[in-house]
Protein backbone atom coordinates (compact mmCIF):
# COMPACT_ATOMS: atom_id res chain seq x y z
CA UNK A 1 0.00 0.00 0.00
CA UNK A 2 2.98 2.26 0.67
CA UNK A 3 3.92 1.88 -3.01
CA UNK A 4 0.43 2.90 -4.05
CA UNK A 5 0.59 6.16 -2.10
CA UNK A 6 4.09 6.81 -3.36
CA UNK A 7 2.66 6.49 -6.87
CA UNK A 8 -0.20 8.85 -6.02
CA UNK A 9 2.36 11.36 -4.72
CA UNK A 10 4.38 11.08 -7.92
CA UNK A 11 1.22 11.98 -9.84
CA UNK A 12 1.02 15.45 -8.23
CA UNK A 13 3.29 17.19 -10.80
CA UNK A 14 1.33 15.44 -13.57
CA UNK A 15 -1.91 16.76 -12.09
CA UNK A 16 -0.45 20.28 -12.02
CA UNK A 17 -0.06 20.17 -15.78
CA UNK A 18 -3.12 18.08 -16.56
CA UNK A 19 -5.68 20.23 -14.79
CA UNK A 20 -5.31 23.43 -16.89
CA UNK A 21 -5.15 21.42 -20.09
CA UNK A 22 -8.18 19.35 -19.04
CA UNK A 23 -10.10 22.53 -18.14
CA UNK A 24 -9.36 23.81 -21.66
CA UNK A 25 -10.59 20.53 -23.12
CA UNK A 26 -13.80 20.62 -21.06
CA UNK A 27 -14.36 24.19 -22.16
CA UNK A 28 -13.90 23.34 -25.85
CA UNK A 29 -16.33 20.40 -25.67
CA UNK A 30 -18.90 22.57 -23.88
CA UNK A 31 -18.42 25.50 -26.25
CA UNK A 32 -19.00 23.13 -29.17
CA UNK A 33 -22.48 22.41 -27.84
CA UNK A 34 -22.07 19.17 -25.87
CA UNK A 35 -22.97 18.68 -22.20
CA UNK A 36 -20.83 18.43 -19.06
CA UNK A 37 -21.71 14.72 -19.00
CA UNK A 38 -20.44 14.28 -22.59
CA UNK A 39 -17.19 16.04 -21.73
CA UNK A 40 -16.62 14.06 -18.52
CA UNK A 41 -17.52 10.71 -20.09
CA UNK A 42 -15.15 11.24 -23.02
CA UNK A 43 -12.24 11.85 -20.61
CA UNK A 44 -13.22 8.80 -18.53
CA UNK A 45 -13.47 6.58 -21.60
CA UNK A 46 -10.52 7.72 -23.71
CA UNK A 47 -7.92 9.15 -21.28
CA UNK A 48 -5.62 10.43 -24.03
CA UNK A 49 -5.28 14.21 -24.11
CA UNK A 50 -3.96 14.88 -27.59
CA UNK A 51 -6.41 12.42 -29.19
CA UNK A 52 -9.33 13.97 -27.30
CA UNK A 53 -8.50 17.48 -28.54
CA UNK A 54 -8.15 16.06 -32.04
CA UNK A 55 -11.50 14.25 -31.68
CA UNK A 56 -13.30 17.37 -30.44
CA UNK A 57 -11.88 19.49 -33.27
CA UNK A 58 -12.84 16.96 -35.95
CA UNK A 59 -16.24 16.23 -34.38
CA UNK A 60 -17.27 19.88 -34.37
CA UNK A 61 -16.09 20.34 -37.95
CA UNK A 62 -18.41 17.53 -38.97
CA UNK A 63 -16.00 14.63 -39.52
CA UNK A 64 -17.31 11.06 -39.49
CA UNK A 65 -16.76 8.73 -36.53
CA UNK A 66 -14.46 6.44 -38.49
CA UNK A 67 -12.27 9.33 -39.67
CA UNK A 68 -11.88 10.53 -36.09
CA UNK A 69 -11.16 7.06 -34.71
CA UNK A 70 -8.51 6.27 -37.34
CA UNK A 71 -6.82 9.66 -36.91
CA UNK A 72 -6.76 9.32 -33.13
CA UNK A 73 -5.41 5.81 -33.40
CA UNK A 74 -2.56 6.92 -35.66
CA UNK A 75 -1.73 9.77 -33.30
CA UNK A 76 -1.64 7.36 -30.36
CA UNK A 77 0.63 4.86 -32.07
CA UNK A 78 3.41 6.65 -30.18
CA UNK A 79 2.16 4.92 -27.04
CA UNK A 80 3.18 1.56 -28.49
CA UNK A 81 6.83 2.38 -27.94
CA UNK A 82 6.26 3.93 -24.52
CA UNK A 83 4.13 1.04 -23.38
CA UNK A 84 6.74 -1.49 -24.44
CA UNK A 85 9.35 0.24 -22.27
CA UNK A 86 7.00 0.16 -19.27
CA UNK A 87 5.73 -3.40 -19.90
CA UNK A 88 9.30 -4.66 -19.94
CA UNK A 89 9.85 -3.36 -16.41
CA UNK A 90 6.59 -4.48 -14.80
CA UNK A 91 6.58 -7.87 -13.05
CA UNK A 92 5.88 -10.54 -15.69
CA UNK A 93 4.36 -12.86 -13.07
CA UNK A 94 1.53 -10.39 -12.54
CA UNK A 95 -1.87 -11.82 -13.63
CA UNK A 96 -2.93 -10.85 -17.14
CA UNK A 97 -5.97 -8.97 -15.78
CA UNK A 98 -3.73 -6.74 -13.65
CA UNK A 99 -1.31 -6.13 -16.52
CA UNK A 100 -4.23 -5.28 -18.79
CA UNK A 101 -5.59 -2.80 -16.25
CA UNK A 102 -2.20 -1.11 -15.86
CA UNK A 103 -1.95 -0.70 -19.66
CA UNK A 104 -5.00 1.60 -19.67
CA UNK A 105 -3.21 4.49 -17.99
CA UNK A 106 0.02 4.72 -19.99
CA UNK A 107 -0.12 8.35 -21.16
CA UNK A 108 2.84 10.51 -22.21
CA UNK A 109 3.18 12.02 -18.75
CA UNK A 110 2.74 8.73 -16.88
CA UNK A 111 5.45 7.30 -19.12
CA UNK A 112 7.68 10.25 -18.30
CA UNK A 113 7.47 9.67 -14.55
CA UNK A 114 7.53 5.87 -14.73
CA UNK A 115 10.56 5.86 -17.02
CA UNK A 116 12.38 7.89 -14.41
CA UNK A 117 11.75 4.99 -12.00
CA UNK A 118 13.14 2.62 -14.61
CA UNK A 119 16.27 4.74 -14.95
CA UNK A 120 16.68 4.88 -11.16
CA UNK A 121 15.89 1.35 -10.08
CA UNK A 122 15.05 -1.08 -12.84
CA UNK A 123 11.58 -2.44 -12.09
CA UNK A 124 8.34 -0.53 -11.60
CA UNK A 125 6.29 -1.82 -8.64
CA UNK A 126 2.74 -2.50 -9.96
CA UNK A 127 1.14 -0.69 -7.01
CA UNK A 128 3.31 2.37 -7.65
CA UNK A 129 2.23 2.40 -11.29
CA UNK A 130 -1.42 1.94 -10.25
CA UNK A 131 -1.21 4.93 -7.87
CA UNK A 132 0.50 7.05 -10.50
CA UNK A 133 -2.12 6.21 -13.14
CA UNK A 134 -5.09 6.71 -10.81
CA UNK A 135 -3.75 10.10 -9.69
CA UNK A 136 -3.24 11.19 -13.29
CA UNK A 137 -6.66 9.82 -14.32
CA UNK A 138 -8.56 11.59 -11.53
CA UNK A 139 -6.90 14.93 -12.29
CA UNK A 140 -7.65 14.57 -16.02
CA UNK A 141 -11.29 13.62 -15.52
CA UNK A 142 -11.78 16.14 -12.69
CA UNK A 143 -10.20 18.96 -14.70
CA UNK A 144 -12.42 18.15 -17.69
CA UNK A 145 -15.60 18.29 -15.60
CA UNK A 146 -14.43 21.50 -13.94
CA UNK A 147 -13.70 23.14 -17.30
CA UNK A 148 -17.00 22.00 -18.82
CA UNK A 149 -19.04 23.08 -15.80
CA UNK A 150 -17.53 26.41 -14.80
CA UNK A 151 -14.86 27.16 -17.41
CA UNK A 152 -17.01 29.92 -18.89
CA UNK A 153 -16.40 32.12 -15.83
CA UNK A 154 -12.80 32.58 -17.02
CA UNK A 155 -12.16 35.92 -18.75
CA UNK A 156 -11.86 35.72 -22.56
CA UNK A 157 -8.13 36.53 -22.58
CA UNK A 158 -7.43 33.59 -20.26
CA UNK A 159 -9.62 31.32 -22.37
CA UNK A 160 -7.78 32.27 -25.55
CA UNK A 161 -4.44 31.75 -23.81
CA UNK A 162 -5.58 28.33 -22.58
CA UNK A 163 -6.61 27.48 -26.12
CA UNK A 164 -2.93 27.79 -27.01
CA UNK A 165 -2.22 25.03 -24.46
CA UNK A 166 -3.37 22.52 -27.03
CA UNK A 167 -0.88 23.57 -29.68
CA UNK A 168 1.86 23.99 -27.10
CA UNK A 169 1.13 20.41 -26.04
CA UNK A 170 1.43 19.20 -29.64
CA UNK A 171 4.62 21.19 -30.22
CA UNK A 172 6.16 19.92 -26.97
CA UNK A 173 5.25 16.31 -27.79
CA UNK A 174 6.87 16.76 -31.19
CA UNK A 175 10.01 18.31 -29.70
CA UNK A 176 10.12 15.43 -27.21
CA UNK A 177 10.06 12.93 -30.08
CA UNK A 178 12.79 14.84 -31.88
CA UNK A 179 14.87 14.83 -28.74
CA UNK A 180 14.58 11.09 -28.24
CA UNK A 181 16.22 10.13 -31.52
CA UNK A 182 19.59 10.91 -33.04
CA UNK A 183 21.24 11.47 -36.42
CA UNK A 184 19.41 10.33 -39.55
CA UNK A 185 16.43 9.13 -37.55
CA UNK A 186 16.02 12.58 -36.03
CA UNK A 187 16.14 14.13 -39.50
CA UNK A 188 13.40 11.77 -40.67
CA UNK A 189 11.17 12.66 -37.73
CA UNK A 190 11.62 16.39 -38.41
CA UNK A 191 11.02 16.00 -42.15
CA UNK A 192 7.92 13.85 -41.65
CA UNK A 193 6.40 16.40 -39.25
CA UNK A 194 7.19 19.35 -41.54
CA UNK A 195 5.91 17.55 -44.64
CA UNK A 196 2.65 16.49 -43.00
CA UNK A 197 2.06 19.97 -41.65
CA UNK A 198 2.76 21.52 -45.06
CA UNK A 199 0.59 18.95 -46.83
CA UNK A 200 -2.28 19.51 -44.42
CA UNK A 201 -2.00 23.25 -44.97
CA UNK A 202 -1.95 22.80 -48.74
CA UNK A 203 -4.83 20.31 -48.84
CA UNK A 204 -7.00 22.52 -46.64
CA UNK A 205 -6.33 25.84 -48.34
CA UNK A 206 -5.26 25.34 -51.97
CA UNK A 207 -7.02 22.03 -52.60
CA UNK A 208 -10.08 22.91 -50.52
CA UNK A 209 -10.25 19.56 -48.69
CA UNK A 210 -12.44 19.02 -45.67
CA UNK A 211 -10.33 19.00 -42.43
CA UNK A 212 -11.51 15.48 -41.59
CA UNK A 213 -10.13 14.21 -44.91
CA UNK A 214 -7.04 16.39 -45.17
CA UNK A 215 -5.68 15.54 -41.73
CA UNK A 216 -5.45 11.71 -41.97
CA UNK A 217 -4.28 11.97 -45.58
CA UNK A 218 -1.48 14.44 -44.77
CA UNK A 219 -0.40 12.43 -41.75
CA UNK A 220 -0.22 9.06 -43.50
CA UNK A 221 1.46 10.47 -46.61
CA UNK A 222 4.06 12.36 -44.59
CA UNK A 223 4.89 9.28 -42.54
CA UNK A 224 4.94 6.91 -45.54
CA UNK A 225 7.26 9.13 -47.59
CA UNK A 226 9.89 9.16 -44.86
CA UNK A 227 9.43 5.49 -44.03
CA UNK A 228 10.76 4.67 -47.48
CA UNK A 229 12.96 7.67 -48.19
CA UNK A 230 15.09 9.99 -46.17
CA UNK A 231 18.45 9.92 -44.45
CA UNK A 232 19.71 6.62 -43.08
CA UNK A 233 20.51 6.13 -39.45
CA UNK A 234 20.64 3.44 -36.81
CA UNK A 235 17.32 1.66 -36.55
CA UNK A 236 15.12 2.00 -33.55
CA UNK A 237 15.91 -0.69 -31.03
CA UNK A 238 12.96 -2.35 -29.36
CA UNK A 239 12.25 -1.11 -25.85
CA UNK A 240 15.31 1.10 -25.77
CA UNK A 241 16.71 2.41 -22.55
CA UNK A 242 14.36 4.94 -21.02
CA UNK A 243 14.79 8.63 -21.54
CA UNK A 244 16.71 10.52 -18.85
CA UNK A 245 14.95 11.72 -15.69
CA UNK A 246 12.47 14.59 -16.00
CA UNK A 247 12.15 14.19 -19.72
CA UNK A 248 8.44 13.68 -19.89
CA UNK A 249 7.55 13.04 -23.47
Amino acid sequence: MKQFFSGLGAAIPIAGGYIPVAITYGLIVRTGGLSVLDAGLSSMIIFAGAAQFLAAGMFFSGAGILQIVVSGWLLNLRHLLMSSVIAEHVDRELPLAARSALAFGITDEVFGVASWRVAAGGTIPPLFLAGLEIGAYLSWVGGTILGAAVGNVLPPSVRIAMGMALYALFAALLAGQIREVRGGRRMRVVLAAATSGGLNWFLRSAAGFDPGVAFPLAMVLGALIFTFFGPDGEELKPATAPVPPEEAT
Partner: protein, 103 residues
Amino acid sequence: MNTRWILTALGLLVGTYTVRALPFWVPDISSVSPRIRRFLEIVPAAALGALIAPDAFGAVSAGLTVAVLGVTVFLTLRGMNLTVVVLVAIGLTWVGITLLPVV
Protein backbone atom coordinates in the same frame (compact mmCIF):
# COMPACT_ATOMS: atom_id res chain seq x y z
CA MET B 1 -25.95 12.74 -23.86
CA ASN B 2 -24.86 12.82 -27.49
CA THR B 3 -24.79 9.27 -28.85
CA ARG B 4 -22.51 10.03 -31.80
CA TRP B 5 -19.97 11.66 -29.49
CA ILE B 6 -20.00 8.74 -27.03
CA LEU B 7 -19.63 6.26 -29.91
CA THR B 8 -16.63 8.28 -31.12
CA ALA B 9 -15.15 8.09 -27.62
CA LEU B 10 -15.68 4.32 -27.48
CA GLY B 11 -14.03 3.93 -30.89
CA LEU B 12 -11.05 5.94 -29.68
CA LEU B 13 -10.91 3.81 -26.53
CA VAL B 14 -10.52 0.66 -28.64
CA GLY B 15 -7.71 2.15 -30.75
CA THR B 16 -5.89 3.81 -27.87
CA TYR B 17 -6.21 0.96 -25.42
CA THR B 18 -5.09 -1.68 -27.93
CA VAL B 19 -1.94 0.29 -28.67
CA ARG B 20 -1.16 0.67 -24.96
CA ALA B 21 -1.98 -2.92 -24.02
CA LEU B 22 -0.32 -4.77 -26.88
CA PRO B 23 3.18 -4.65 -25.32
CA PHE B 24 1.71 -5.96 -22.04
CA TRP B 25 0.05 -8.87 -23.84
CA VAL B 26 2.72 -9.67 -26.41
CA PRO B 27 6.13 -8.88 -24.91
CA ASP B 28 7.93 -9.38 -28.24
CA ILE B 29 5.78 -6.86 -30.09
CA SER B 30 8.63 -4.44 -30.61
CA SER B 31 10.69 -6.95 -32.59
CA VAL B 32 8.68 -6.34 -35.76
CA SER B 33 10.32 -5.56 -39.10
CA PRO B 34 12.57 -2.48 -39.24
CA ARG B 35 10.35 -0.83 -41.84
CA ILE B 36 7.23 -1.11 -39.68
CA ARG B 37 9.19 0.14 -36.68
CA ARG B 38 10.39 3.08 -38.73
CA PHE B 39 6.80 3.89 -39.70
CA LEU B 40 5.68 3.58 -36.08
CA GLU B 41 8.46 5.90 -35.04
CA ILE B 42 7.58 8.71 -37.43
CA VAL B 43 3.79 8.50 -37.73
CA PRO B 44 3.15 10.29 -34.42
CA ALA B 45 5.51 13.09 -35.47
CA ALA B 46 3.69 13.34 -38.80
CA ALA B 47 0.38 13.49 -36.91
CA LEU B 48 1.65 16.26 -34.66
CA GLY B 49 2.93 18.25 -37.64
CA ALA B 50 -0.49 18.10 -39.27
CA LEU B 51 -2.20 18.97 -35.98
CA ILE B 52 -0.14 22.13 -35.60
CA ALA B 53 -0.37 23.39 -39.19
CA PRO B 54 -2.53 25.15 -40.09
CA ASP B 55 -4.87 25.12 -37.07
CA ALA B 56 -2.49 26.66 -34.53
CA PHE B 57 -2.60 29.86 -36.55
CA GLY B 58 -6.01 31.35 -36.03
CA ALA B 59 -6.99 32.30 -32.50
CA VAL B 60 -4.11 34.74 -32.02
CA SER B 61 -1.78 36.48 -34.49
CA ALA B 62 0.67 34.35 -36.48
CA GLY B 63 3.63 36.18 -34.92
CA LEU B 64 2.54 35.38 -31.38
CA THR B 65 1.81 31.76 -32.32
CA VAL B 66 5.26 31.32 -33.83
CA ALA B 67 6.89 32.94 -30.78
CA VAL B 68 5.00 30.81 -28.25
CA LEU B 69 5.47 27.54 -30.14
CA GLY B 70 9.15 28.40 -30.73
CA VAL B 71 9.70 28.85 -26.99
CA THR B 72 7.78 25.61 -26.36
CA VAL B 73 10.01 23.63 -28.70
CA PHE B 74 13.17 25.26 -27.37
CA LEU B 75 12.34 24.53 -23.72
CA THR B 76 11.37 20.94 -24.47
CA LEU B 77 14.56 20.32 -26.43
CA ARG B 78 16.43 21.71 -23.44
CA GLY B 79 14.74 19.03 -21.33
CA MET B 80 12.03 20.96 -19.51
CA ASN B 81 9.10 18.91 -18.23
CA LEU B 82 6.11 18.71 -20.60
CA THR B 83 3.55 19.99 -18.12
CA VAL B 84 5.71 22.96 -17.10
CA VAL B 85 6.28 23.84 -20.75
CA VAL B 86 2.53 23.88 -21.43
CA LEU B 87 1.94 26.17 -18.44
CA VAL B 88 4.69 28.51 -19.65
CA ALA B 89 3.03 28.60 -23.09
CA ILE B 90 -0.36 29.51 -21.58
CA GLY B 91 1.29 32.30 -19.56
CA LEU B 92 3.23 33.65 -22.55
CA THR B 93 0.14 33.70 -24.75
CA TRP B 94 -1.83 35.51 -22.07
CA VAL B 95 0.92 38.09 -21.65
CA GLY B 96 1.09 38.44 -25.44
CA ILE B 97 -2.60 39.11 -25.99
CA THR B 98 -2.90 41.31 -22.91
CA LEU B 99 0.11 43.52 -23.48
CA LEU B 100 0.27 43.53 -27.26
CA PRO B 101 -3.31 43.55 -28.51
CA VAL B 102 -2.25 44.43 -32.02
CA VAL B 103 0.33 41.71 -32.73
